[in-house]
């Protein structure tokens, strides 16, 4: 049912009803902004990127062939725009180092993820990793959809998600140890 209303909005915008676009922004704006905000530190930068995403969506609506899901298409634009804006504006993020992966001092029972730890740990991931993990766990996009959005293979995404979960576990454990010690 949601997809039907998406398509109807798209068709209305294509027919020249610009106001129908507000429905699209109202529906997806906050999710796109939330994902971008997790990648970009500054709120204004994140809003600028979110605006850029929706302007691109509007300009490219003629190219949307209505064969795929609108959300998948929109998130693909959001993904590409965020990554390219990060490169263009050199909005820096701190990637987690691979050697962290050998740190195994985590007690499975202790991994009780608190939001502030997770929020901080997310900042240690690369933008495309944050994109994958937020789309999958927060917006509940299927791995197949994420594969279409990111142009990565299904198996590659599964591997990446596994690595991301490991990185997050290590980072959360480090944050806890820092707090205790």
């Amino acid at each position: 049912m949601e997809n039907v209303s998406d398509l109807l909005c798209v068709q209305r915008v294509k027919a020249g009803d610009i106001q129908a676009f507000t429905l699209i922004v109202e529906k997806y704006g906050e999710m796109v902004f939330t994902i971008v905000r997790k990648i970009v530190e500054n709120r204004e930068d994140a809003e600028d990127i979110t605006q850029e995403v929706f302007i691109k969506v509007f300009k490219s609506l003629d190219k949307f062939r209505e064969e795929s899901e609108f959300a998948t298409w929109l998130y693909r634009i959001a993904y590409n725009t965020t990554i390219s804006e990060l490169r263009k504006k050199k909005l820096y993020y701190v990637p987690v180092e691979d050697n962290l992966l050998v740190d195994n001092n985590i007690d499975e029972e202790e991994i009780e993820i608190k939001l502030q730890y997770l929020e901080k740990a997310l900042k240690k991931l690369s933008p495309d990793e944050i994109f994958l993990v937020t789309l999958h766990y927060m917006d509940e996009q299927s791995i197949e959809n994420i594969s279409k959005i990111s142009d990565l293979s299904v198996s590659n995404i599964k591997v990446k998600l596994h690595r991301i979960r490991k990185k997050l576990a290590i980072e959360i454990s480090k944050l806890r140890n820092d707090e205790r010690g």
Partner: protein
């Protein structure tokens, strides 16, 4: 052998569920829509300009292409000689009228469809 520790799929799913969505600034929508309206105006202008240029190019090609073709034939094909001043065209007025009528019907039909399409969306 070191044990491979990680967060489980479900744990992460549950944790992400608790994350609230970030709220956009109150002025976000107005700002975005004004940018989009500007974009629409500029897109319309560009489309009009392209359409105008296409018409000019079409007319120019209708006139220039036969002239160019005749010039090239006269220039490069031995024994070929053609002059537009000797050309006499006989219009069949009936054919021209039928052609214009068909064109008019097509224009009326497309305008009608456009009107219906807009009315349908307004009703929805």
């Amino acid at each position: 052998m070191k044990e491979d520790r990680t967060i489980s799929d479900n744990q992460l799913r549950k944790a992400f569920k608790e994350f609230p969505l970030e709220n956009l600034s109150p002025g976000f929508m107005e700002d975005l829509m004004s940018k989009i309206e500007k974009e629409t105006v500029s897109q319309r202008r560009t489309k009009k300009l392209i359409a105008f240029l296409q018409i000019i190019a079409g007319i120019a090609s209708i006139i220039l292409l036969p002239v160019l073709a005749v010039y090239l034939c006269n220039r490069f094909i031995p024994g070929f000689s053609f002059s537009f001043s000797n050309l006499k065209i006989n219009f069949d007025i009936n054919s021209v009228l039928i052609g214009l009528a068909i064109l008019l019907l097509l224009i009326i039909d497309s305008l009608h469809k456009r009107h219906e399409y807009k009315r349908q969306f307004k009703n929805e």
